[in-house]
Symmetry: C2
């Protein structure tokens, strides 16, 4: 195999594919890019077993020649080194020439790199064929869905199922749910009727997928029994579904919300951030006090002191109520809504409460308060 | 003590002073700012015992009122928390009121922080009186002097004296020398006759001092037996001198430089950076091969491969020579010169070599080559 390629386009492809490659891999072949050149274009594949990314660089893009002086073939080359070469060289084009099964020469006429390479048949077989239920989403909707839920998934591996986002396609709706058991985020999108599946997908992988979306209008998903495939223009991403049942979250959203506070999102965020300064010692606990007299957020540290701030513009319905919560949970929930105003609604002091945007019922956040005694 | 202060000016002063405060301190009082308000202005002091910074904020700066509604006094307040408060609050002014010897109230009318504070007499006595030999340097010259030498000091504590820069004022010259024993950097400035001292000062502290230089034309140094004091406009910095003798570096700069290579600094830097990609395994060794045939930098890794690059524009005088070196040392030396062209001059394969700028003999870099067999 050999080719001369536009360096920028090559680097773009390498950077996309490198996202799937782990810094350390138990399977040595997976520290490489798989590079295939056939009559349709150049294919770059990277994988860490759980996540596989394959992207295509065509010979020509409209008028622009991208690949020239080529001979078809396939090889494996160290991903980190090849990406760094393409990044550090400053020429317009880069040439790659596999001179025998174990050596590739990469150069731009000025620098020359002789890299050890490996035969492609040492790469694991990875199935990237679409298979199963098909669903096409608007890219922006997909990104919003992940942004509004992924942060609420657990980052701890004790209960692996909680590190996933639970997707349920049913009855013309796609519902995404994430919970780390102390909070929950849920987003619903309308989809076409007839698509039915349940899939638990690593939240971290889904965030990776959103980072790969670049200049494409739609995200095409194909869900089979053990994998989900995302098609994003010239890039295909495959990730394994997590096994195990997702906990039942149907009844987590509380009813009988007797205390309802509406505030400006930015004012609330800034006030919580400021009083949080004094909550470092005590697990980030911030107190919210609501009554006819006004709304105040506060925090306390026995060693350092205390902080309080009154919220100036709000609407509150309900009796006097004091609630304590993890500041990070409430900040993340408010930010995820992305709205000008937010509503915090409560059943009582120690019951899970709701953070939502009254103008958008497609998304809801539920947070468990903290005990402060 | 109480005062209302322009928040931006206050924060600027806190940030300057905070540079001296360690994140963890054996002396609890030193995790605080010492704050003194007298008839001349507000003084903020921070210290980690080795380095002390004291800065002054005046009541008025030309037309602008900075401090108002005040009562003189002194207190100690947690440095990290106070800096964060001044940063996160978004009002124009901030008020601080020490209501009794153990509580200060800080607020902007919206947020209110009650902080525990400590009586000022618990702060260690720190001598900031100028005393000893006086020397005034142009700020830009001082910064250049530190930039061109500090990187060559050791960062390891095994031989503490090598973590310092050795200053010698003698016979109308100030010479700064730094060495980690594998390389040396030396810079000389002309100064007035009659100033005579030898002082070893932590390279890290000196870099801190350069960061504090802001809008002042001169750096005034006062060197006594055990400390050096820098006066930078409204800020005074004091640091202890290191005890112990600096190694004799007088004869380190080699003579009989029979091999002389002149190259463009940027081309050389880029070439070394690129071939360094393959030098990761082998202690960053890069090879430089020089002869009438041309100049080539290269590196090799048994596992990954090899890299080479020819330098296109150069002047070389001498026989064929091959030298191996630590890429970081040569890159740092070339960058420190800050010149368009650099000269690398050699005695022989395994002898220390010189990196210099032919147009500026005030600075010289010496590097020991590496064995590659």
């Amino acid at each position: 195999m050999k080719f001369t390629i536009n360096r920028e386009e090559f680097l773009k492809g390498l950077n996309i594919t490198a996202r799937a490659i782990a810094s350390k891999s138990v399977t040595p072949a997976l520290s490489n890019f798989k590079i295939d050149l056939d009559e349709t274009g150049l294919y770059l594949t990277g994988s860490n077993n759980n996540l596989t990314i394959k992207t295509m660089i065509p010979y020509k893009d409209e008028q622009k020649e991208i690949i020239r002086n080529y001979k078809e073939g396939t090889t494996l080359i160290n991903a980190k080194i090849l990406t760094e070469i393409a990044r550090r060289v400053d020429s317009v084009e880069l040439s790659l020439d596999v001179i025998d099964s174990s050596t590739a020469i990469i150069g731009d006429g000025k620098s020359e790199f002789k890299l050890n390479c490996i035969r492609s048949d040492e790469y694991p077989d990875i199935d990237l064929e679409p298979d199963g239920q098909f669903l096409s989403l608007n890219s922006a909707d997909f990104i919003t869905m992940i942004d509004q839920t992924a942060f609420a998934a657990s980052t701890k591996e004790q209960r692996p199922i909680l590190t996933t986002i639970n997707f349920e396609a049913h009855d013309g709706k796609l519902t995404a749910t994430a919970t780390d058991s102390a909070r929950m985020a849920r987003k619903t999108l309308n989809i076409e009727q007839g698509v039915e599946f349940i899939a638990n997908i690593s939240a971290r992988m889904l965030v990776e997928v959103t980072h790969l979306i670049d200049n494409v209008q739609t995200v095409d998903m194909t869900v089979s029994e053990n994998k989900i495939l995302f098609s994003l223009g010239k890039t295909v991403v495959s990730t394994r579904l997590s096994s195990g049942d997702y906990p039942n979250t149907k009844n987590i959203v509380p009813r009988n919300l007797n205390y309802v506070l509406q505030v400006n999102a930015q004012e609330m965020i800034k006030a919580i951030e400021r009083v949080s300064l004094l909550s470092i010692e005590r697990e980030n606990v911030v107190n919210l006090s609501m009554s006819d007299d006004g709304i105040e957020v506060s925090s306390k540290s026995s060693q350092i002191g205390s902080a309080s701030e009154r919220i100036s513009s709000y609407r509150y319905e309900g009796q006097r109520l004091e609630v304590s919560f993890n500041n990070e949970f409430v900040l993340a929930a408010i930010r995820a809504l992305g709205s000008v105003d937010v509503t915090l609604a409560f059943v009582g002091e120690m019951k899970p409460f709701v953070v939502k945007n009254d103008k958008d019922d497609s998304v809801i956040q539920v947070i468990t308060p903290m005990r402060t005694f």
